[in-house]
């Protein structure tokens, strides 16, 4: 999944260089506090371990092909997000500059796609949540597979977005995404299975290795901020390119009834509810409510100008609402679990 310079515009490449450099500087600042030479040596050797582990191929069942470990999630499990990010970034710098795997300008994108997602999203949000604390061996499998797959899929989506935003490739966004996601889903599942098997091996033979990273609990404070940034980016910018065609349900209804939205019956309760919904919806149909002056004027089609401030605001607002709801649900669940655990003691 290493991107090449040839597929990027200077603006996109430069932006991701800045983002990745900032993330490296931030990670260095976070990890430099303990000044532990032992961990420095460990990070170096484990970075080299990822290189070495990638040389060992295995047979992928049912395909006749072979694959190798990526190592992003495994390194994060062993070192924690900050140190793993630095270690993965250093591996990618060496791969790019000294083995010509990926380009100089593409380095920022590659670090973002291959190190940021496993270290700062997949590991704290998925792996740790599913695997539990202390580690539950029964949940290690789903935790590894789901986190590795999600990390890879997010990276693949990011590759598609970066390439499309650069405007070098003629591949349409949707087609490119359809090419990238299934293959990375399969790779992610295999990566997750290998990561799981390696972690199980380590738990059985040398469990102390997994106790080396003790800072992950503290690191989770950053992650909500990062998620908010991703949500803002997705809702605010990428929503411009959302398809204006009907969704699956609308398409099915249009095929069966000839109408994208079914007309409601003229029942007083439904009419009242519909009227309340219209008054409450501050961004109807994912856009600004048309003012009385503009209501009758002709709208510019989405294909002519995809950049729509109304769509951005509704995208951001929607993302934030989902985040707040998810956070609130998580806190409610946590307090309930806490009460149950305390009651059991």
């Amino acid at each position: 999944m290493h991107m090449s310079d040839a597929l990027l515009s200077p603006a996109v490449g430069g932006t991701f260089w800045a983002i990745s450099s900032g993330m490296i500087a931030w990670s260095v600042k976070r990890t430099a506090m303990d000044q532990d030479g032992r961990k420095t040596a460990l990070m170096g050797v484990l970075g080299a371990f990822v290189f070495a582990a990638q040389m060992i191929n295995f047979t992928i069942p049912g395909t006749g092909s072979s694959g190798h470990l990526g190592g992003g999630l495994l390194l994060t499990i062993l070192l924690g997000p900050w140190r793993a990010f630095i270690s993965l970034a250093s591996v990618l710098v060496i791969q790019s500059l000294f083995f010509a795997d990926g380009g100089v300008l593409a380095l920022g994108c590659n670090i973002f796609n291959l190190a940021f997602f496993p270290a700062f999203v997949a590991y704290p949000f998925l792996y740790r949540t599913i695997a539990g604390n202390p580690l539950s061996s029964g949940r290690l499998g789903p935790a590894s597979v789901i986190a590795a797959t999600a990390g890879l899929l997010m990276g693949a989506c990011s590759v598609v977005i970066q390439t499309t935003a650069s405007g070098i490739s003629a591949l349409p966004f949707g087609t490119f995404l359809l090419f990238m996601l299934p293959i990375h889903l399969a790779i992610g599942i295999v990566e997750g299975l290998v990561t799981w098997a390696v972690v199980v091996f380590v738990v059985k033979t040398e469990p102390s290795i997994l106790d080396m990273q003790q800072e992950s609990g503290k690191n989770r404070s950053l992650v909500p901020a990062v998620f908010i940034a991703v949500a803002l980016l997705t809702g605010g910018v990428f929503s411009w390119f959302a398809s204006s065609y009907p969704d699956g349900l609308e398409w099915s209804m249009a095929k069966t009834s000839g109408l994208e939205e079914l007309e409601g019956h003229d029942e007083p309760v439904l009419s009242a509810l519909s009227s309340i919904q219209k008054k409450l919806a501050f961004l109807p149909d994912y856009g600004f409510r048309p003012s009385s002056e503009t209501a009758g004027s002709q709208e510019i089609s989405a294909t002519e100008n995809p950049v729509n401030p109304g769509t951005s605001v509704s995208g951001i607002a929607g993302s934030m609402m989902v985040l707040i709801l998810a956070g609130a649900a998580g806190m409610l669940t946590r307090s309930r679990v806490y009460r149950t655990e305390n009651a059991g003691e």
Partner: protein, 248 residues
């Protein structure tokens, strides 16, 4: 992983620029090539003159660079093929051959990859890794990251050899593909991981005995001399000249 990049070679002495200047020129060159519009093949080919000039002037064996370049990333080839398929707008016709927009833009993608990668390979062939680390330090890259790069690079060869031995041992004991499955390989990787962490412990003790804190001692910062400044300026002028001549 090639071990050629850790061996001393004559090009290390024959580059006219210092390491900091070489790194700056590499980044600038990449930016200029990447900024060429997607349908301008002549400009990309013209930029290819710069790596060719360095190869001939620094007496770097062309065979080494070509061998690496032949293995173009499958991802780049896939994207170039995508352009071929999706952009079939005819641009011009030569004899019986109809050249489409997709063919031109696919050619540009492949050429850009070829040219930027050859510059990268030249850099890696000419600047040894420890000097690259020092150049990064001189540019203000955090010490911890520079140290990390050097450690990863150093031990990747060591652990690479170990991984090869483990793989060879497994392959010798596998018949008809049996024993090369994910589970067995994961145990192999786990074993490599356990060995790596105990090696890290030994390395730390050895480094501590030699006075290592958490970074490598650097005697002096890589200087950026007046000669380096002139070389960077000349390179920028050259890159701008190509842009003016080939990009309307």
């Amino acid at each position: 992983m090639s071990e050629g990049s850790v061996q001393q070679n004559p090009a290390e002495r024959s580059l006219p620029a210092g390491d900091r200047a070489a790194l700056a020129i590499l980044v600038l060159f990449t930016l200029f090539v990447v900024a060429v519009p997607g349908n301008n093949l002549p400009a990309v080919i013209a930029y290819g003159a710069f790596p060719l000039f360095v190869i001939t002037s620094a007496r770097i064996p062309l065979r080494l660079i070509m061998k690496r370049l032949l293995v173009l990333s499958p991802f780049v080839l896939f994207m170039a093929a995508g352009n071929l398929y999706f952009d079939r707008q005819p641009v011009f016709k030569t004899g019986y051959v109809l050249v489409t927009g997709g063919l031109v833009s696919a050619g540009v993608i492949a050429a850009k990859s070829f040219v930027t990668l050859s510059a990268l390979l030249l850099f890696s062939h000419s600047v040894p890794f420890h000097r690259f680390g020092n150049a990064l330090r001189a540019y203000g890259v955090p010490e911890m990251f520079a140290t990390q790069l050097q450690l990863v690079y150093r031990y990747s060869f060591l652990l690479g050899d170990e991984a090869r031995s483990l793989q060879k041992a497994r392959d010798l004991r596998s018949f008809s593909g049996k024993g090369k499955d994910i589970r067995t390989t994961a145990q192999l990787i786990g074993s490599l991981l356990v060995r790596s962490t105990s090696r890290a412990e030994r390395i730390f003790m050895a480094m501590s005995a030699r006075g290592f804190g958490s970074s490598f001692p650097v005697r002096q910062k890589e200087p950026f001399t007046a000669r380096d400044g002139i070389l960077v300026a000349v390179a920028i002028l050259g890159f701008c000249a190509v842009r003016i001549m080939f990009i309307p």
